[in-house]
């Protein structure tokens, strides 16, 4: 993919990741990062796109695999509803997944290059394997 990095007055370096049309309507795509967990892009019924870390605050489920509603994505592991706009879990569940800045320009989806490189690098991926209790 040809990525265009532009510099603006705000000094945000926006990096183009895909076209809006590359994300299914009411669906999601994953964006790999040089380090850290992927970012999940969600497309609502219109042209709106939201970006969250691909990790449910509950047990780390990949949100990009969930069912996308108008305002929430439903985590595929235990059905927590996570707000697309800010990553907050819907009450009474408590938790928040990091959100990423995201904008749509002329049908293209742009993310903040610095955030992609540096934001939420410390959150671990969920693991499987032999069961450990307690």
């Amino acid at each position: 993919m040809n990525a265009v990095v532009t510099t603006e007055v705000t000094e945000t370096r926006w990096v183009e990741v895909c076209a809006v049309a590359d994300i299914p309507e009411l669906g999601a795509r994953r964006v790999a990062r040089p380090a850290g967990l992927p970012v999940a892009l969600f497309r609502t019924a219109g042209e709106q796109v939201h970006a969250l870390l691909d990790r449910c605050p509950h047990k780390g489920g990949p949100l990009s695999q969930g069912i996308v509603g108008a305002e929430h994505v439903f985590c595929p592991l235990h059905n927590w509803a996570i707000a697309l706009a800010d990553g907050q879990a819907r009450a009474p569940d408590v938790g928040c997944t990091p959100a990423f800045r995201c904008r749509v320009q002329a049908g293209r989806v742009l993310l903040d290059a610095d955030e992609l490189a540096t934001h939420a690098l410390d959150l671990p991926a969920p693991t499987a394997g032999p069961c450990r209790h307690g």
Binding site: M1, N2, A3, V5, R13, V15, E16, V17, C18, D22, P24, E25, L26, G27, R29, R30, V31, A32, R33, P34, P38, L41, T44, A45, K59, G60, G61, P62, Q65, G66, I67, V68, G69, A70, H72, F74, P76, L77, N79, A81, P92, L111, A113, L116, A117, A125, P126, T127, A128, G129
Partner: protein, 826 residues
């Protein structure tokens, strides 16, 4: 410019008369959906904020304090900008000027008025009823008066052996008084219990030192020299000492205020399905003071349901109708478990099933009429109360489960809590919900701290009973002890999810009737509350569309759960498991070699043999899925889908010295005929070659057992949360008949089952007789169903290979790799 100068539109004014549970609950529901719509003013006759009236009995018994039962502290009113007038009873409503006036002269104008004045104790019209020491039992003041009296006096008489009277008697006895209950009828709680249960109850209360005067009428209350009550005189002339008399002979809706304002009152303030008074559409009434279709409800669950509907109308959404509630009673006298519902007395045309163990303290009576459960009384063991109540509301025929009925749902092989049926017997650290690891202590704490009222509340906050649901009865018992009851309203139809009030059947019917082909048509046609639904309703509707209109409705992959979108089974770490199909559980050296090669090539960490006679590869990266499928070159096992899973077989007559039929071939034929069949839930089959039943046909959705003269078909078995033994459907002669009958049954289930309803639950809902009528009695209908299924499955793609036809979005497998140039030091 003129517009800019105009002052902001003043908010509408809502006045609530009656600061109790029904009224304040309505405000809470309203604030949830329209927090800014009204300036709210509340008048309460009592000097307290809203408290849980049901818990006055534990307060009286010294088990809880007044502070603990407050539901909405004063700060709650302040926080929501509500003007609260406590200790001010409204005495007048001026409907023309739209103003209410309190006894002290305080007035408040309203645009909308909500009446929730509750009820008053019925005071027997006998001489001495106004003496000091004679009280009703309704509020904190009454409770306090009883607590004070218990500290000073010795003899208490409670008139009325109903729930309220017995709770009062129990509390007063606990506080050291000598209590006598006077009851006009021959046994206690005659409106909720039959004679046997009433007598058992009397016995155990008598053991606690309470005395009873049964079938006795009170004539007068006698004062002492100081003018305080000192004795009760009966019609037969006897007198018993009484320093305190509690009148608990019933309640009456408090309608005096409404009546004086000219509002139509019959048994209560008459309201419509929108909870508006029939006389004045600006005035609403909820709770015990309201009469809806002739009924004034006295239990909290219906009141909460009314509150919800009323709030939507106050919020001007104009949706929601209250159509009445079915009610059951769980009774709360500490240490005594009682449940009753429906027509528990029986009578003309009814039959009874009774279990009576007086020494063990258990009594259960089920009343049936026309093959349906119409009433139940449980004493001593109430864990199945909610199950009976469900059967009663559904009105489903019970002939097929009649022999098991008495032993309850929990006797049908409940797993996960080792058959415990009494929450009281558990320690705080004991696990109630085995699925989510929730202890009794955690549930009780959440109920108290979060102010939870309903089963749904508890499920949302603690997850207890939210997964498999087999501990529901225990959670309800905990709600009973901690919150004073489970206030879950029991609407006649259960809503599909939070996005709608419609139930599954209504949605299915509408899709059929309107020939709807898209989810959007359903959402618009049925006034969905959310534009794009949720993870519960979207997959369900997608399935209903596809099963109702095969080859017409178009599948929407984004409305499918991830497993059916990526055609593999998501694991806790976000990887997937892959299970290829092995027809009838048979495999070959070449398939096993390919599997081994795939495991090596893609470094798959775990390989496991499944219960369905296949091989599961666990821990496959999503990126690798298409390549894994290609290398395996085996059909999709649909082990991830609400669809036909496996057909388990034994080796049958081909090899087995006991085999009577070729079960392996039968299994392979069934699997080839039915694979790619989506259904309301997963579907598992088994074929055994003889009655030794090595393929475990008895716990499958369709189980086939070969016998010398043909094949026996069983349906509705389940080895899951509740082990359900499959029920005998019929016996057939030929393999073709096995296909036709099994296929027709599954097609019936596909058309009539609700999403996520296994065949056992589907049959439990519609009754096996219904299934037999459609499959056995109606040969043309059966063949038509079998043909419909073949039509629907014809040309269905294998999603592991025919990506386009199966609408598999290949973009999902690989992540986007943006070319990020990280500028060092930028």
């Amino acid at each position: 410019m003129l517009q800019a100068l105009r002052p902001p539109q003043p908010r509408q004014r809502l006045v609530l008369v009656g600061n109790g549970m029904a009224g304040v609950r309505t405000l809470e529901e309203l604030l949830k959906i329209a927090p800014e719509l009204y300036d709210i003013t509340v008048f309460g006759a009592e000097p307290h904020p809203n408290y849980n009236r049901i818990l006055l009995s534990p307060v009286l018994a010294g088990e809880q304090t007044l502070d603990e039962i407050v539901l909405n502290p004063l700060a709650w009113y302040a926080e929501h900008g509500i003007t609260l007038h406590t200790g001010k009873a409204i005495t007048r409503i001026d409907r023309v000027k739209r103003v209410v006036e309190a006894a002290d002269g305080t007035t408040a104008p309203y645009d909308r008025l909500l009446l929730a004045t509750g009820s008053l104790p019925f005071i027997l019209p006998i001489p001495g009823k106004d003496l000091p020491g004679v009280i009703g039992y309704r509020d904190i003041a009454d409770t306090q008066a009883m607590i004070d009296a218990a500290a000073q006096y010795r003899h208490a008489v409670v008139i009325g052996g109903g729930l309220l009277g017995l709770e009062a008697a129990n509390g007063l006895a606990k506080r050291g008084m000598q209590v006598t209950v006077v009851h006009l009828m021959p046994w206690l709680m005659e409106r909720q219990l039959d004679e046997t249960a009433g007598r058992l109850l009397q016995q155990s209360l008598a053991q606690r030192g309470i005395r009873f005067e049964m079938g006795v009428q009170t004539e007068a209350l006698i004062p002492d020299a100081a003018g305080r009550v000192m004795a009760v005189r009966f019609k037969d002339g006897r007198e018993i000492p009484a320093d305190l008399v509690v009148m608990a002979a019933g309640i009456r809706p408090h309608t005096a205020l409404a009546a004086s304002a000219g509002l139509l009152c019959e048994r209560g303030v008459v309201v419509t399905d929108t909870l508006q008074t029939v006389t004045d559409p600006r005035i609403y009434a909820v709770g015990e003071c309201a009469a809806h279709r002739g009924i004034a409800y006295g239990l909290v669950a219906p009141l909460f349901e009314q509150a919800k509907v009323c709030a939507t109308h106050l919020a001007q959404f104009g949706i929601g109708r209250y159509t009445g509630s079915a009610v059951s009673t769980k009774l709360k006298v500490t240490g005594i478990d009682l449940f009753s519902a429906g027509h528990f007395m029986g009578g003309e045309g009814t039959e009874q099933i009774v279990l009576s163990d007086p020494v063990g303290g258990v009594y259960k009576k089920l009343v049936l009429k026309d093959d349906k459960l119409v009433g139940a009384v449980l004493y001593g063991d109430t864990v199945d109360g909610s199950w009976y109540f469900k059967l009663l509301r559904q009105g489903r025929p019970v002939a097929d489960i009649r022999d098991k009925l008495m032993f309850g749902e929990s006797s049908l092989g409940d797993t996960g809590h080792a058959g415990v049926n009494k929450a009281a017997a558990l320690a705080d650290s004991d696990e109630v919900c085995g699925c989510n690891g929730v202890t009794k202590g955690a549930i009780c704490k959440a109920i108290k701290a979060q102010g939870l009222f309903t089963l749904d509340d508890v499920r949302k906050h603690t997850k207890a009973s939210a997964s498999c649901g087999s501990c529901t009865g225990l959670v309800e018992q905990l709600l009973m002890t901690v919150a004073g009851g489970d206030y879950s309203a029991a609407p006649k139809t259960k809503a599909m999810c939070g996005c709608t009030d419609h139930g599954h059947q209504a949605v299915r019917d509408a899709i059929q009737a309107n020939h709807w082909l898209t989810i959007d048509q359903v959402y618009r046609g049925m006034d969905w509350r959310t534009p794009n639904g949720c993870a519960s309703c979207r997959p369900a509707i997608n399935y209903y569309l596809l099963s109702t209109w095969p080859k017409e409705a178009k599948d929407d992959p984004q409305s499918r759960f991830i497993n059916e979108r990526s055609h593999a089974n998501i694991q806790k770490d976000g990887t997937y498991s892959v299970i290829p199909r092995m027809w009838g559980g048979e495999t070959t050296a070449s398939e096993l070699r390919r599997i081994a090669d795939v495991v090596d090539k893609y470094r798959i960490p775990t390989v496991k043999v499944t219960g369905g006679q296949r091989i599961d590869m666990l821990g496959v990266k999503k990126e690798d899925l298409p390549a894994v499928w290609k290398d395996l070159a085996m059909p999709s096992g649909h082990a991830y889908a609400k669809a036909l899973r496996t057909v388990k077989t034994c080796v049958g007559s081909e090899w087995c010295r006991f085999g009577t039929q070729d079960s392996t071939q039968m299994g392979k034929d069934l699997e080839r005929a039915l694979w790619r069949m989506y259904a309301p839930h997963k579907v598992k089959l088994a074929v055994s070659g003889c009655p030794r039943n090595c393929a475990e046909s008895g716990i499958k959705d369709v189980g086939v057992i070969g016998v010398d003269s043909g094949w026996e078909l069983y349906v509705g078995g389940n080895g899951g949360i509740k082990t359900e033994v499959a029920q005998f459907l019929c016996k057939v002669k030929t393999p073709d008949e096995v296909l036709e009958y099994s296929g027709a049954f599954l097609q019936l289930y596909r058309l009539e089952g609700w999403y996520l309803e296994r065949t056992c639950h589907y049959i439990a809902r519609v009754g096996l007789d219904h299934v037999k009528k459609k499959i056995l009695d109606d040969a043309d209908g059966r063949r038509a169903l079998w043909e419909q299924l073949q039509f629907a499955l014809d040309g269905e793609p294998d999603p592991w290979f025919e990506f386009e036809k199966a609408q598999v979005d290949l973009r999902q497998f690989a992540p986007i790799q943006p070319a990020i140039t990280v500028e060092q030091g930028a």
